[in-house]
Amino acid sequence: MQNLHSLLDGFAHVATPMNLLIALLGVTIGTAVGVLPGIGPAMTVALLLPVTYGMEPTQAFIMFAGIFYGGMYGGSTTSILLNTPGESSSVVTAIEGNKMAKAGRAAQALATAAIGSFVAGTIATLLLVVITPPVVRFAVSLGAPDYFALMLLSFVAVTSVLGASRIRGFASLLIGLVIGVVGIDRVTGQQRLTFGVPQLADGIDVVVVAVGIFAVGEALWIAAHLRRRPAEVIPVGRPWMGRDDWRRSWKPWLRGTAYGFPFGALPAGGAEIPTFLSYATEKKLSKHRDEFGRGAIEGVAGPEAANNASAAGTLVPMLAIGLPTNATAAVMLAAFEQYGIQPGPLLFERESGLVWTLIASLFVGNLLLLVLNLPLAPAWARLLRIPRPYLYAGILFFASMGAYAVNAQPFDLILLLVLGLLGFGLRRFGLPILPLIVGVILAPRAELQGRRALQLSGGEWHGLLGGWVSGLIYTTVLVVLFWPLVRRFVLRRRARMVTE
């Protein structure tokens, strides 16, 4: 009951004209960056973070939440009309969505994506309201060793579960950890990796890292691959659905939500796994299985619902524990720190107004997104006509302005360029970006918790094994780490048994 009351309070805060306007701005920007391939919500939040310094934290987070949700909506438009996923979370949507569009059913595909996203987003946000407070109560009972273990799990999961190559994932994570520990050691006061440069003593600002890796890296990458054959956009009218489409869509929406939310909430969840699982399930359960591969509406409805539900799921660990599970959440977590707000279980106590307003704004943003996307999908598709040089010139402008605004030091611009080159290198060699960002953001906090645990035990290693929670987490970490070895062993034995 207490939660419901707080949520209603949150709605009261959102419903001021200024906050509604900011929510509208957020979802509009979010949809736009979702539509454009290569520019995602994580990059956008990082770019806009310095711009929001003048705002109240609540308003900034209303905008960020809008961008986050909007990106999930916008990605589907590009997937369906262009067969180029705007976001990694809508890769699966492109499989059936583009086929539907080519068969002249683009309007229905866009409609089921938008309405499914709305349904899933609303249900998942409700789940967020119900589930987060118990998670917070549990998180408060955790000690430093448990947090350290959780962060280790997050590192391992983000590198091993997602992406094609574990080695690339770990390489990226280690680069992130190195960037994360630059600066003065808070316990001993030693300078680490500063090379005698005084500006590095405070560490490298997360905003500079995020903007450099996401924005400058992407801009360099696009500049290196500028010429490409323009694709054909499939003309579409106003999205709408017939009675038959509704009948075939509602079950996939609900199943997609059921997949998306828990996967979003797990470390290393993200939207890729649940969208793919949802697609596979719908393919198996559908009565129109022959239509799969030629444009089945279930194959759009399920994954689109799953990716929006996972967006809400991502917010559970972010708000309750301070653990990011995708790139946007990682950057939003950095934003909390920029505003001097300590993320973690105490967030609900200390900043209860902010958190509940943020959650209420998710409901409002979802509704706004439905209104924006359903009638305006063809208009959004026109964004793809913008020549990329103009687009990326604007992004670089915001990137340099943002990096400079953090500390007003020209040195940060040099750092920005260096990190941009690093971002280009990551893309060139196929290293995933998420582990790096998670590493940069969690490295100082993991170090803090780990050393706190060691200090409490007087430097004894068993201090890291706090209780059953950390024990359980370490077991999971080991299983995830050694799973490929175990599997190979099992397979070999099985093969040997077969040959014998």
């Binding site: 454009l36 500028l226 490409r228 323009p230 793809l384 006509r385 020549p387 990329r388």
Partner: protein, 150 residues
């Protein structure tokens, strides 16, 4: 000598193509169809996709005029590409389609037709589509009669 036609997938482009075919027959010269894009946007409505190119090929084959089709994507404006091709390929006539543009639109976005008219060294034939989409009051149909069908 060749007749060069700047083609875009629209009624205006089709009108230019038909005019070029007429000119090629009259001069007994081959047609060179050129379609360009800077290739820097994800979507370019001026870039002919396969169905459009098929329609062009059909039209040209039916006319019996020898022809070649070139699609260029080198990061340069259509006007630059056509002017350079006209100089390099020994072109006798350039045919382009034109449409009504508002002064503000021209001020902001520029006019490819105007660029070509001023840049190309050989004569340029400018053709309007048979059914103009928009006719402003100032330059209504009475002052600018539509060209009769060839």
């Amino acid at each position: 000598m060749t007749v060069l036609v700047g083609y875009v997938p629209s009624p205006m482009g089709m009108a230019a193509l038909q005019a070029a075919i007429g000119q090629a027959r009259f001069r007994d010269e081959p047609v060179l169809v050129v379609n360009t894009s800077r290739g820097d946007a994800y979507v370019d409505p001026c870039f002919a996709q396969q169905p459009d190119l098929d329609a062009v090929t059909r039209e040209l084959t039916a006319s019996g005029v020898p022809f070649a089709i070139r699609q260029l994507m080198q990061g340069r404006d259509a006007a630059e590409e056509i002017a350079d091709l006209a100089d390099a390929q020994d072109v006798s006539l350039v045919v382009i389609g034109i449409r009504h543009r508002s002064p503000i639109g021209k001020l902001i976005l520029g006019s490819t037709a105007q660029e070509i008219l001023l840049r190309v060294s050989c004569p340029v034939l400018a053709v309007k589509a048979a059914t103009p989409r928009r006719i402003s009051r100032a330059t209504g149909p009475s002052r600018w009669p539509l060209p009769s069908e060839p």
